[in-house]
């Protein structure tokens, strides 16, 4: 059963621009179940791009971590609130924009995303703290801002790049 209470979804035809044409806009109640549905929607929106599996998994992981962070930290302990997600695709790849009206990032900054064993060397087997580590590994050009009580996070994933220059191989 789909519980898409509070979900709305608009899909647009993608104009191909460098900045990135909008692929989809969605808004939903911040719950882990809705994050799951939003990821499912996002992945089906991306189908026409025919991304290789490796790139698809990068998108899915980065989306899951960024959206779960909103549910867990911006709206902690089930605080009700909404999340807005915009996907854009352009020559530089996929741009992911996430907005919410929850709590700000600690100290107004996104966490550094060290591997959790670097933050807590005594804990040889960490059970958490991997979220920002994964986002930092996968995302480029990450920007966080807060204005009028709204968190704004945008980052780029270098996937589905059009006319991406192939790296010249360093021949020996």
């Amino acid at each position: 059963m789909r519980h898409d209470a509070g979900m709305n979804h608009v899909r647009a035809d993608p104009p191909a621009t460098a900045a990135g044409g909008v692929l989809s806009r969605s808004a939903f109640r911040a719950t882990f179940e809705n994050v799951r549905l939003a990821i499912e929607d996002a992945m089906s929106t991306l189908e026409p791009l025919n991304l290789p599996d490796e790139e698809k998994s990068s998108v899915e992981i980065a989306l899951a971590e960024a959206l779960n962070n909103v549910v867990e930290h911006a709206y902690p302990d089930g605080t009700p609130g909404d999340v807005k997600l915009v996907l854009r695709h352009g020559r530089a790849g996929l741009l992911i924009e996430i907005r919410d009206n929850g709590r700000p990032m600690p100290n107004g900054r996104t966490p550094k995303g060290n591997h959790p064993t670097e933050n807590h060397p005594s804990d040889e087997l960490p059970e958490g703290g991997f979220g920002w580590f994964l986002i930092r590994e996968l995302a480029r050009d990450l920007v966080y801002d807060r204005e009028n009580g709204e968190n704004f996070l945008i980052f780029r994933l270098a996937v589905g790049r059009k006319n991406a220059p192939t790296k010249p191989s360093l021949s020996t």
Partner: protein, 114 residues
């Protein structure tokens, strides 16, 4: 949370029937693992081939389950999909588990080790 135990002579296999171990089900996964392994000692093999996505919460639940087991035995993993394997590799958690391609490979290892 669909997780099916099957008891063998030298090990317990827990087959996870869910397609995702994510933030929505991570707590349930860990609780169910605790229940299923409460009487187990020795080796537990978790069969993950039905799972096509794990996020950091799911990863934490798998690591946590392994830590619960550590005093009385060990927990190995079988059948990681490419995406699941990627999360384990990126977070370097692939080095703290013994990971096998198939149940056959994992149990072969059990015979050799005895």
């Amino acid at each position: 949370m669909e997780m099916t135990p099957s008891v063998h002579k030298d090990f317990l296999v827990i087959t996870v029937g869910e397609s995702r171990i994510d933030a929505a089900v991570a707590m349930q996964f860990k609780e169910k693992m605790k229940d299923l392994t409460s009487g187990a000692s020795g080796r537990v093999i978790v069969e993950l081939s039905a799972v096509n996505f794990v996020d950091s919460s799911g990863l934490g639940a798998v690591v946590g389950s392994m830590k619960q087991m550590r005093r009385k035995g060990r927990m190995d993993l079988v059948g990681l999909s490419a995406s699941v394997e990627k999360v384990f590799r990126m977070t370097r958690m692939d080095s703290v588990f013994r990971i096998f391609g198939t149940l056959g490979e994992a149990t072969q290892e059990s015979l050799n080790a005895s």
